[in-house]
Symmetry: C2
Subunit: 320 residues, 2 copies
Amino acid sequence: MAVTIRDVARQAQVSVSTVSRALSAPGLVKDATRQRVLDVVAGLGYQPNRAARSLITGRTGNLAVVVPDLLNPFFPSVLRGVQTKAGEAGTSVFFCDSREDPETEAELVRTMASQVDGVVLCASLLSDETIIDLAAATPLVLINRIVPGVSSVLMDSANGMEQVVTHLESLGHRDYVYLGGPAAAWSNNRRMQGLNGRAQLLGSFDPNFDGGYTAAEQALSTGATAFIAYNDLIALGALAYLAEHDVKVPEQISVTGFDDILYATMCSPALTTVHMPTEAAGEVAVDLLATLLEGGQPEHRELPTTLVIRASTARAHSQS
Amino acid sequence: MAVTIRDVARQAQVSVSTVSRALSAPGLVKDATRQRVLDVVAGLGYQPNRAARSLITGRTGNLAVVVPDLLNPFFPSVLRGVQTKAGEAGTSVFFCDSREDPETEAELVRTMASQVDGVVLCASLLSDETIIDLAAATPLVLINRIVPGVSSVLMDSANGMEQVVTHLESLGHRDYVYLGGPAAAWSNNRRMQGLNGRAQLLGSFDPNFDGGYTAAEQALSTGATAFIAYNDLIALGALAYLAEHDVKVPEQISVTGFDDILYATMCSPALTTVHMPTEAAGEVAVDLLATLLEGGQPEHRELPTTLVIRASTARAHSQS
DNA sequence: TTGAAAGCGCTAACAC
DNA sequence: GTGTTAGCGCTTTCAA
C-alpha cells in the first residue's frame, strides 16, 4: 500500500492533524515543525490520497472539458489551454467528446458533474434551458456560446468577420458571397452578423471540405469576386473546387476562411483567415470556473479575433 | 448536499449494504429487492460518490492518457479511441499534453499515477529504463513504442512503408528518396526498416510543414522520381515546395505521406499515404490496460496499416 | 501550536 | 438474502 498520512506523522513524531495542517494550512504550524514534516514527506515520497481528501472537503481538484468533436482541429487547442491553466493549480482535466450529439452531451455533463469541481462546455449543442439546468447543478463555463446567467467566454467572431469585410472592401471587392455554415450553429449566426448585410448569402453547407466543394460550385455562378467561407474547412473545399476548374485564386477570385486552423498555412494559396484565440479561451474558461468555485458571479468574457492576411485574397479584378 | 446511499436505503426500506450490492453485485440481491432499490435510485437520481467508493476499493474508475502534442492531428484521434472504449466501462479519462518534453512527460505520468487505475502513454519520449520504472509503479500501456515487459500497441509502420515501396515499384519507380523524420524518433526507425534499404536516405527533418519544405529542396537535387516522406506534414511541405517550383506532382515526381491525417485528403493533389488505425489503437490500449488491472500479463499488439492510394503518385516518368 | 476524535460515503467482512 | 459494523485516508472541529 502507498504511504499514508499516519506514516508521515509517526516518522515526524507529530499527530496526523499536524501533518495535514503542515500541508494544507502551513500558517497554522510552527516553522520548525512544518519543516520536519515536509522533510519526512519528501523522504517518503508521500502523496495525499485525493479520494480521501475529496471525500471530506467536497472538492475533487479535477475538472472536465466537453467538446463536440475532438477531431475538429479547433478543439484540441482549447483543451490545451484548459490543461495549461488548470495544471498551474494542480488540477487535472477530464475530456469528453459528445460526437455532436446533444443527448450525449447533456449526459456527459451530468456524469462528470459528480466527479469534478466544474465543467467547461465548448460549442454546446444544447438548448438554453438545458444549459441553465446544468449550470444550476454544477459550476459551468461555456465557450463560444452565450446563455443568460451562465459564465462564458467568446471569441469575437462578429468582429472578425467585420475585419474580413473591411479587408475585402479595401481590395476593391464589392460583390462577395458568404458560404454559410450550419443554420443551427450559433457561431454561424455570429459570423453572419459581422457581414453587416453586405454579402450575398448562400445556403447552409456542411462545415467541412465537401461542404466547401459544393458551395464553391454554387458560388461561382453568382459572379462574385470573393468568397467568404464560414470556416477554413469550407474555404479549403472551395479552393479545391476552384483549382480543379482552373479558376485562379486570388487573381480571379479571393477566398477567405475562418478559424485559422493549422492547414490554413499549408494549403496553396495559403488562406487569408481569422485567427481565433482558442488556447486563450481555454485558459480564460478555467479562470471563470475558479471565480465560480470561490462563490463569484457568472461572468462573460469576449476575446479579440484577428484577421490574418495570407495569399488567398487580392485586389478585385475589374471584370467578372 | 447530494443524495447518499443512506437516503436510498431509507426510502427503499433496506440496509445500505443491500443498496450497495444491488448496484455493484446485482446477483447477490433478490430480484424484487433489487428492482425496488433501482427504482428509488432512479427516482432520487442517486449517483454513488466515486471518492468514497474509490477510498475503499482502491480503484478510481479513471484512467489517463498522455500525449506529446495535442495539436498534432494524430493524437486527438487516439484520445477518441481511448474515450470510446473507456466510456463503455463507465471509466472517465484524464488527458495530459507533455509538449514534447520528456521531463514533463515523466512528471505527468507520476502525478496521474496516484489518481487513476492506469495510464496510456503515446509516442513516449522517455528512455526504456524510465518507462520500466513507471510501469512498475502503475499499470501502463504504450502506444507506438515497444519496451520489454511493458504492454504496448503498435501500428505496423514497417509494413506500411513496405506497401509504399511496393506501390512505387509497381509504378516503375526505381530511384526514390526518403525524407526522414527526427533521428531520435522511434517511429522513424520503424518506418525506415520498411524501406528495406531501397531508398536513398535524406537527413532528419522536423516532422512538420517547414521540415518538408526544406527536405524537398534537397531531395529535388537527387534526381529521384519519387519522395517518400516520414509523415504527411513533411509530404505537405514538400508538395508546397514543388508547386512553387513548378514541378508537377505526380507527373514529374510522386510523393507519399504517412499517417493519413485529415489534410491528406484536402491538399492538391490528394496525398497517397499510409492510414494508421489510431482510434483502434486507443481502444486496444484500454483493453490491454483492463487486462493488466485484472492481474494479467503485459501484452503486445500490432495493428495493420493500409496504403491509401490517392492522386500524388503515378507512373514514373522515363527521364529525370 | 498541537493532539484527539468524529466523521465524509461507501464497500466488504461477518453475522444471522 | 439481508443487516450490522468496521474502517478506507483524510480534514476539521474542539480541547488542551
